[in-house]
Symmetry: C2
Subunit: 281 residues, 2 copies
Amino acid sequence: MEIIRSVDGIKEKIKQIKKNNKSIGFVPTMGFLHEGHLSLISEARAHNEIVVVSVFVNPTQFGPTEDFENYPRNEEKDAELCAKEGCDYMFIPEPSDMYREGYNTYTEVFGLTEGLCGATRPSHFRGVCTVVLKLFNIVKPDRAYFGQKDAQQFAVIKKMVFDINLSVEVIGCPIVREADGLAMSSRNAYLSECERQEALVLSSSLSRAKALIEAGEREAFTIKEEMIKIINGSKSSNIDYVEFVDNRSLKPITRVEGEVLIAMAVRIGKTRLIDNMVVNL
Amino acid sequence: MEIIRSVDGIKEKIKQIKKNNKSIGFVPTMGFLHEGHLSLISEARAHNEIVVVSVFVNPTQFGPTEDFENYPRNEEKDAELCAKEGCDYMFIPEPSDMYREGYNTYTEVFGLTEGLCGATRPSHFRGVCTVVLKLFNIVKPDRAYFGQKDAQQFAVIKKMVFDINLSVEVIGCPIVREADGLAMSSRNAYLSECERQEALVLSSSLSRAKALIEAGEREAFTIKEEMIKIINGSKSSNIDYVEFVDNRSLKPITRVEGEVLIAMAVRIGKTRLIDNMVVNL
């Protein structure tokens, strides 16, 4: 595995790969890799000749009061995991190389970005689209892999790619969970031992929703009430949102029919966690 | 020459061309081709193995009160001229194919788009960037050719390409003028015989500016006053702007030093015309 740190460096490498008509699988990450990321890399490895993993904590997708500075980083460990998973090239650029002096171009998907996480993180998806488009232009992947945990991000990127005629195939991979149900996230590192336990209310509330739906309940409101009760059962929890939306349009729905995304963002102490589940009826 | 009308059709063609590692020169146009366009096609022909010309009157770059519906079109003549100039593929998509149902993704370059034409055409450059990015993603050109008559557009597209790491080389070509000095434009077709004559005030005012600068004048204000006098000498003229800006930042300057863009938009009757000149001191 080779680590490349400059935009020009990786562009040169990609040029050679393209000349040889080799397929490229790409996994864009913010590093501090966990098994969720590794499942993406493994999927990329299985279906492409060349695998590129980027590690870039992207400043433009963090709000001014968010955790950009404190976002967990561990490059050495990340490199070790990437190598083990069969990654060919790790791309670890500097913010000053990705956003050169006077940078001023932004790409935005409207319609999918106003609700859910977009409601409390107003410029987040603009930053995500901007950096993902840049990374796609740099890495020129045939396939790119994203985790379904960031359900809204996945929907937004798929829409961007479709709208602006990019050739990359955007592939979503299932949420990877700890044995007790907590969705894997780099931000889990922020949790104290006690908070780690309380964070289980997110996945528990989804399990409860699943059970209710399996028992025949279809009213989103009723299920949501039950979920909120579970989440509020934790002392340190603070709900940002619990929403039932159409999995394509991300518009709120009242009855559980078709492909429904049940998504939430909950603060456990100071740590904002997200989780979700897609049901298809 | 082959005419291709669907996005999927041209994408398939481009895929084949790329597989054979052939270079692509691209000239995006809104059709109703004149010698200005032909100079771009000729330049593309000289430096690339494959030449693609797109003809697309892009709805997203027209304001609600602008001339989208009436914009002059003559596909048959365009095809004839393209063939004669050595174009390999003409791409003539439908708006409904370029902007499919629910289209909602926009790319914007800030900083360069608020002044000059952007001041009175607030969403114009957002539309230009969006469609040019889409066309670049579809045609995947090695080189793309733009006319220097749209000086701000050229600066904005160059900036977009640089910022978002596109691999295309953006090449600007000189303004082509009628024998009497009028800059070639598809919109000249709107002019009555009388207006056609009056439209000469644009190029005349630039000639006057050139003469003053050659005579040693450096105060933008003084030169601008002279230019405005000439333009206002025409009864049917109505100045949108006459500006002296730095040719890179497009920020107003007061003294003619370095690379200066002298740009204007003037209505002759109902027809909005633009013209410009770059001086390098």
